[in-house]
């Protein structure tokens, strides 16, 4: 209803859950600010006219007590208003920080001057991202060169993509359509051409679109292959003679480290352990692992991370590779079609709308 206060051509497209909340704060702030501007300008103009040089308005002494009371009064009032706005904005921010557990995961890599996105079933796109409407989507961002920033005005969404680091954010689209994807961290010559499209589709259309994508390995499948190709499995597999911790089922678990500290196994920890293995050594193990700094690309680290998340013991590489994506993708809110026989072979995280951590594959 507040939207009605602003004419349509002044309103940016609003197509996510967060957008509505941001606009509400924005309009609230706009009203408060306008009131303050009107107050100040109104007083200045009134005084300027009434007390213009030579006017006959009465000018008397002001008792000092009035001055002090006024000062304390408007200091307290401003402080109260500002803290109130802070509280309002902060509560929206805190509420929106953590993505829902069942969010679709999209990996985003920024590079001069394009966006590469990779969906849950390995669908890769350049300067485009297809997502279903109504489903929470979690973005994991990184960059291959300089800092970029992933900006979708219609979603009121922005997050920097940093080289050699991973940041994340999430959104839930509420309206189908095509929206701008813009880079908002200056990144060189073609910064202004590092733009793309976010295409929000009906769940059925999204499922159809997925079937039309060329079959590709999912990220975790790629990770599984890298795990053996790059020699990780030589030490980390259960039967290995080298004394290295097993990686099975450790995702989101707390592990004890040397020196009595603990760490939670997440993207950052896995990444650090690959690049700087000597830093956080699991208690009871020798720091014998070599660093993979410079030996693995960002995409490969993402793939390995995805593999570890899905569980090295539970991942059926062969089964999932033989699978056509069309058979087991179901849109959020739909029940999987009965005719999908190989559903169980698919990691739950590969299915939009399914729990990302995937505790119990049937």
């Amino acid at each position: 209803m507040l939207d009605a206060l602003i004419p349509a051509f002044l309103r940016p497209e609003s197509a996510s859950v967060q957008a509505a909340k941001v606009d509400a704060i924005f309009i609230g702030l706009l009203l408060i600010s306008s009131a303050i501007v009107l107050l100040v300008v109104g007083l200045v103009v009134t005084f300027a006219i009434r007390y213009r040089r030579g006017s006959s308005a009465k000018r008397g002494e002001m008792p000092t007590i009035v001055s002090r009371e006024f000062e304390v009064g408007w200091t307290a009032a401003t402080l109260f208003i500002f803290v109130f706005i802070f509280w309002w904005a902060a509560s929206v921010e805190i509420g929106a920080f953590s993505p829902p557990k069942d969010a679709i995961e999209i990996h985003v890599v920024g590079k001069q001057w394009m966006w590469k996105t990779q969906g849950p079933s390995g669908t890769r796109e350049i300067n485009e991202l297809h997502v279903p409407v109504g489903a929470p989507v979690r973005l994991l961002l990184t960059s291959q060169d300089v800092i970029h920033s992933f900006y979708v005005p219609a979603f009121r969404l922005k997050r920097d993509a940093l080289p050699y680091q991973q940041t994340e954010t999430w959104f839930q689209a509420t309206k189908t359509g095509t929206y701008h994807l813009l880079c908002t961290e200056y990144c060189g010559t073609d910064h202004s051409r590092m733009v793309g499209r976010i295409i929000v589709m009906e769940p059925q259309d999204y499922a159809q679109w997925l079937t039309r994508q060329p079959e590709r390995d999912g990220l975790a499948e790629l990770g599984a292959r890298l795990f053996s190709e790059r020699g990780c499995s030589g030490c980390h597999n259960a039967g290995s003679k080298v004394h290295a911790p097993s990686l099975a089922g450790i995702w989101n678990q707390s592990v004890p480290l040397e020196g009595g500290r603990t760490a939670t196994v997440d993207e950052a920890y896995v990444r650090d352990s690959i690049l700087q293995p000597e830093r956080d050594v699991v208690a009871g193990y020798e720091p014998i692992m070599p660093s993979y700094e410079g030996k693995l690309s960002d995409g490969e680290i993402q793939a390995l991370t995805a593999y570890i998340r899905h569980g090295t013991d539970r991942f059926d590489l062969i089964g999932s590779l033989n699978l056509a994506p069309a058979q087991n993708i179901c849109a959020p809110g739909q029940t999987p079609p009965e005719s999908a026989p190989n559903q169980s072979l698919r990691s739950p995280a590969m299915v939009p709308g399914a729990p990302a951590s995937g505790d119990t594959p049937p």
Binding site: L10, V22, I25, F26, L29, S33, I36, V37, V40, V41, L43, V44, F47, A48, Y51, R52, R53, G54, R59, E61, S67, F70, E71, W74, T78, L79, F82, V83, I85, F86, W88, A89, E93, I94, A96, Q112, D145, V146, I147, S149, Y151, P153, R156, R159, D160, L162, Q165, T167, H180, L182, T184, E185, Y186, C187, G188, T189, H191, S192, R193, E293
Partner: protein, 563 residues
């Protein structure tokens, strides 16, 4: 407040100048060397005024080309790389070689000793060195531009600036680094001057607010600039000597650079606005003929802004992936730092109450400041709110916001002060009607240029875009048209003020009937500033604390009061 001289207004009378009074600082030596090797704070102020005017028009020319290019969504006037170099040039030159030195090194240099009854700054030679350092820095940066330019933006974000850009980053950064020493020298000089050279009776709470503003600004100069200097050294070290510092490929953290950079650059915003607040406090009281409302609160507000301003730098980095809790702390502090600014606006407004308000050009600029600063400050609240900032960060909303503060407010105040003290500095009166017209045109042109950018920004137009989606064109056309008006408005004072130097009427010693010590000497003042030893007997802004009587007004030229 009274000086030793009995009736100041008669001193400008030429017949009295024959009585063996010292000549003005302008008449003491006319050779170029007498200017280039001067240690007179007033002459150094003039040197600074010339150099920042030069840099202002260089930065302005770059901005004009940027606005011209943005008239259409496609690129058609310059290439993408040239565009990137133009906005970088505009930012670097305007921030470090115009805005930061602007009011402190010109009006501050000229007026600080005069306002506190001193004969010069505490370290006159250091003052001269600081101008040479500033020029050296400026010329190094200009050399980078002539060599081929720099395309990093004024923020020098790594790893783009250290690893990826193949423009003349090192040279430009070196220029900024050198100019930092100039800033620090000025800060040290002002602090020592205020502490040790106040005239008898000039207690801390009798200082004009302009002096307080200079003092608090100097504290930021001295405390924040070294951080920038070291950060820039690290950028140069990584770029030139290939040392792994910020480069993430070699274990560095680009976010560390942002923390260090904004730890300086956020307080730097207060370096630009605190002096402006000082100027406005002088101008509004004079033309409203009222004592400043709530003097002590105005002082505390300046100090509070300077101190809290050091703890809000993180609000430039809400989208960089910082912890949401850290973001909320910075958000909270950013709201808190807005409170003293709001107090100042209310106090200026209340100062008008029961005054005898006149609308001479300095007052028009000051009233313009009041409106633009209020707008700029309130839009700062939008940016302090994390969810809104996530949307408008690095869009034209931010561009509009900081131009309202740094150009709308600071530059308006600069022109207010320039016109207010012009008679004192040059001994000449400028054509008042031209000045009023320029003030109105500047206000109008500014709003036309920058208000549409708020809308474009909220609609989602990113900053530093050479080409842009066509739906933003209407706002850019408005903005570019405003920029043309603004360019004319900025050129006008250059014309009529220069004209006044040669053809303007002789100024009275106190043409505005103002109260400050600087008006208790001749216009222009002699080398030694005062004829006797000034003594301060009353608080500042002694304009009729009881009630302003009719007939109390500035003695401007057309009223026939000119000697």
């Amino acid at each position: 407040m009274s000086g030793a001289s009995s009736d100041a207004s008669t001193l400008a009378n030429p017949r009295e100048l024959d009585l063996g009074l010292p000549v003005s600082y302008l008449a003491e030596g006319r050779s170029v060397a007498s200017w280039l090797f001067t240690t007179d704070h007033k002459r150094i102020a003039i040197l600074y005024a010339l150099s920042i005017t030069f840099f202002f028009f260089i930065g302005g020319a770059a901005a004009t080309l940027v606005r011209l290019e943005l008239f259409t969504p496609e690129g058609n006037i310059v290439g993408a790389d040239t565009y990137n170099k133009l906005f970088s040039l505009h930012g670097i030159v305007m921030v470090w070689f115009f805005l930061i030195p602007s009011i402190p090194t010109t009006m501050g240099n000229f007026l600080l000793p005069l306002m506190i009854g001193a004969r010069d700054l505490a370290f006159p030679k250091l003052n001269l060195i600081s101008w040479y350092l500033n020029m050296a820095g400026g010329l190094l940066t200009l050399a980078a531009v002539l060599a081929g330019g720099i395309d990093t933006g004024w923020t020098f974000y790594v790893p783009y600036s250290t690893v990826f850009s193949n423009t003349f980053v090192t040279l430009a950064v070196l220029g900024v680094f050198v100019s930092g020493f100039s800033t620090i020298a000025t800060g040290v000089n002002f602090i020592a001057t205020v502490h040790y050279l106040r005239a008898p009776g000039m207690t801390w709470f009798r200082l004009p607010l302009f002096v307080w503003a200079m003092y608090t600004t100097s504290l930021i100069f001295v405390l924040a600039t070294p951080v920038l200097a070291l950060t820039l050294v690290l950028v140069i070290a990584e770029r030139t000597f290939n040392l792994p510092i910020f480069d993430p490929a070699r274990g560095g953290d680009p976010i560390l650079f942002q923390h260090l950079f904004w730890f300086y650059s956020h307080p730097a915003v207060y370096i630009m606005i605190l002096p402006a607040m000082g100027v406005i406090s002088e101008v509004i009281t004079c033309y409203a003929r009222r004592r400043i409302f709530g003097y002590s609160f105005m002082v505390y507000a300046l100090v509070a802004i300077a101190v809290i301003g050091f703890f809000t730098w993180g609000h430039h980095m809400f989208t960089s992936g910082m912890s949401p809790f850290a973001a909320l702390v910075f958000s909270f502090l950013s709201f808190i730092v807005a409170v003293p600014s709001a107090i100042k606006v209310f106090n200026w407004t209340a100062t008008l109450y029961r005054g005898q308000i006149g609308f001479e050009s300095p007052m028009l600029y000051a009233l313009g400041f009041l409106g633009l600063f209020t707008m700029g400050g309130l839009t700062g609240l939008f940016l302090a709110s994390v969810p809104i900032d996530v949307h408008v960060q690095d869009t034209y909303f931010v561009v509009a916001h900081f131009h309202y503060i740094m150009v709308g407010a600071s530059v308006s105040a600069y022109f207010a002060g320039l016109h207010f003290w012009w008679p004192k500095v040059t001994g000449r009166m400028y054509p008042e009607s031209w000045a009023r017209f320029a003030a109105l045109l500047m206000f109008f042109g500014f709003n036309l240029t920058f208000f549409p950018q708020f809308i474009a920004g909220y609609l989602g137009m990113p900053r530093r875009y050479y080409t842009y989606p066509p739906e933003f064109q209407v706002w850019n056309v408005l903005s570019s048209s405003g920029a043309a008006v603004l360019a004319v408005a900025y050129l006008m004072p250059l014309g009529y003020l220069t004209w006044s130097l040669f053809f303007g009427g002789r100024a009275l010693n106190d043409p505005w009937n103002a109260t400050g010590l600087e008006w208790r000497t001749t216009s222009p003042p002699p080398r030694q500033n005062f004829f006797g030893n000034p003594q301060v007997l009353a608080p500042p802004y002694d304009y009729h604390p009881e009630a302003t009587p009719p007939g109390d007004e500035p003695r401007i030229a057309e009223k026939g009061a000119l000697t």
